[in-house]
């Protein structure tokens, strides 16, 4: 992020040196704005797709009504902004018997986790004004994948705290269910991610994407880790659904039995933070899936030029923009897949969930790790190492 931002400012102002804290503040602002806007769009999309699958229309009458006459996808565009503002304006209740400290801490904690997890996610790369192409991320950490998984565990902590501090039996049960579920599915998820790690020989998400672009066995079309580590991709996707508490793994919020799970006592703004974090996490797992299994911002055999010159119009940072477009297109394809899964499958029973996670997904992820190790060894011996 920093070198690109510096270069950008230098281009604009003619050699102005930015202070060292500016890139951090700018990244923070960008990520915050992205989380809010993206979550709003995703909620609207979710409701529309839910409507489509259930032969309904979804939100239609909020916003310009003339648009709604056109098709179901043009109606109700103002629905989620209205919902958000309404939640902001509602009364904020802190019930008398709750543990105030924990009750107030939990939404902040879950939002912190949702925010911090964006740091190592690479969305594009650019060669504009740089000696060599660099990865566009807030910071392409050396331990990116480990960092993401580690920060995700904070979510469990927040959910448990919310469940305990609400002093409500439904909240407590929901919180414990969520904790157990996320904890159990984290292990197959880690092992599923270990296959790509071994193939790339790196933990950095940027490196993972670059290795995929370089290709396996010298064949660029074999490059996406979806191919060599297919089992891992499937296991990761299932675990990702479970980690984000989305149906069919949404026992923590099963409304027939647990009212609204850990968020039962939360009102208005605090509830909005839980909701925002949930959708943000959903998008984050899609971004990780894109970066780890779908080749990130690259397409096989396609390298966009650093700047586009159309004669009458000169567009700098073209590779950055093209990479971002490719990345978000892929990520949204995964989002659509998750939404399809959500509105198609019925909810699992908790003991089935545990059996599925421990007895089926975990051995499968071990098998995937074995396959990936063999492939990595073949690559190492016959094709001369991996670039990672």
């Amino acid at each position: 992020m920093e070198p690109i931002f510096e270069q950008f400012v230098r281009d604009l102002t003619g050699g102005f040196q930015i202070p060292f804290w500016a890139p951090m503040l700018v990244s923070l602002g960008l990520v915050l704005a992205f989380i809010a806007l993206n979550a709003m769009f995703m909620i609207w999309l979710e409701r529309k797709i839910c409507g489509r699958i259930q032969r309904r229309l979804g939100p239609m009458l909020t916003g310009p009504k003339a648009w709604a006459r056109f098709s179901m996808w043009t109606g109700g565009w103002f629905q989620t902004p209205c919902d958000s503002v309404k939640l902001l304006l509602k009364e904020d209740i802190v019930p008398a018997q709750v543990d105030r400290f924990g009750f107030m801490l939990a939404p902040v904690l879950i939002f912190m986790a949702a925010l911090a997890v964006y740091v190592p996610l690479p969305i594009s790369s650019t060669a504009h004004g740089q000696p060599s192409p660099i990865v566009v991320a807030v910071a392409d950490l050396d331990i990116g994948l480990l960092y993401v998984v580690a920060i995700t565990t904070l979510t469990i902590l927040a959910i448990l705290t919310a469940g305990w501090a609400s002093n409500n039996k439904y909240s407590l049960l929901g919180g414990m269910r969520a904790g157990v579920q996320i904890l159990s599915y984290e292990i197959p998820m880690l092992f599923a991610l270990m296959g790509p790690m071994v193939l790339a020989g790196s933990l950095s998400l940027g490196d993972l994407v670059l290795v995929q672009h370089a290709g396996l066995f010298g064949v660029p079309f074999l490059g996406w880790f979806l191919v060599p580590s297919f089992l891992g991709a499937v296991v990761y996707l299932i675990c990702a659904v479970a980690e984000t508490n989305r149906p069919p793994f949404d026992m923590p919020e099963a409304e027939q039995e647990l009212v609204a799970g850990f968020s039962t006592e939360y009102t208005a703004m605090r509830f909005a933070m839980f909701y925002l974090a949930e959708f943000s996490n959903t998008f984050v797992v899609c971004m990780i899936f894109t970066a780890v299994f779908l080749g990130g911002w690259t397409l096989p055999g396609f390298v966009p030029p650093g700047s586009l010159n159309l004669g009458f119009f000169h567009l700098p940072y073209f590779d950055l923009l093209a990479g971002m477009a490719i990345f978000f297109a892929k990520a949204y394809a995964v989002v659509l897949l998750l939404m399809w899964i959500r509105w198609t499958f019925p909810r699992l029973r908790p003991d089935h969930l545990m059996t599925f996670g421990w007895k089926f997904l975990l051995p499968l992820s071990f098998l995937n790790l074995l396959i990936c190790t063999v492939l990595a060894a073949v690559q190492q011996i016959y094709f001369g190492g991996n670039p990672g």
Partner: protein
């Protein structure tokens, strides 16, 4: 002028670690103690990060915050009076405790003062926050790789022995926790519960 925030970060993290550790033993609710423990472990992870050992920091958060403290909190939730505020936090034997603490302090101080504090040879490369190199410590020390080579090259034997030791401990724990088999219970205490 290059502002070096490392000392500031160190003191902040040290204050966080110490403060949270104090809160762990003085909290009036068990759950608060657990949350404070998370703060302590996070502070320690931050200190690791300050020392550029990012892998260790990540593992610290993943293993301690993500697994061990969560299990602790589960255990706390299974206790009876988990919302009771009047937890007794002071020791009943203050003088013995103080003596033990002093002894521990003496041992630690001895270790600290006698150490030569070997530093990495290339510390001057990354006072990290200059606007040129940014936060790119990745090139300076490929910590994960170095760790991997270390573990699998000179330290293979200790590494494997530690894993065997942990395995033995796990099996022993299972053996201790298992219900003793009774004659009328043919499944020997490990039957599957069918809901």
């Amino acid at each position: 002028m290059i502002f070096d925030p490392n000392p500031v970060a160190f003191w902040l993290l040290a204050a966080m670690v110490t403060g949270c550790a104090l809160a762990v033993i003085r909290a009036h609710k068990l759950y608060h103690a657990g949350l404070a423990l998370v703060g302590t472990l996070f502070g320690v992870a931050g200190l690791y990060g300050l020392l550029q050992v990012w892998f260790l920091a990540g593992v610290q958060v993943l293993v301690y915050v993500g697994a061990i403290v969560i299990l602790l909190l589960f255990a706390i939730m299974l206790t009876h009076h988990m919302m009771t505020p009047n937890l007794k936090t002071l020791s009943t034997q203050p003088w013995t405790a103080a003596a033990m603490c002093l002894m521990l302090l003496a041992v630690l101080l001895g270790g600290i003062l006698s150490s030569t504090w070997q530093t990495a040879p290339d510390t001057t490369v990354y006072p990290t926050w200059t606007s040129q190199s940014g936060f790119q410590v990745a090139e300076a020390i490929p910590s994960v790789k170095a760790l991997g080579f270390r573990l699998l090259d000179p330290f293979t034997l200790p590494f494997e022995m530690v894993s065997v030791l942990i395995l033995v401990a796990m099996i022993a724990a299972l053996a201790v926790a298992r219900k003793p088999p009774t004659p009328e219970d043919p499944a020997e205490g490990c039957e599957e519960v069918v809901p």
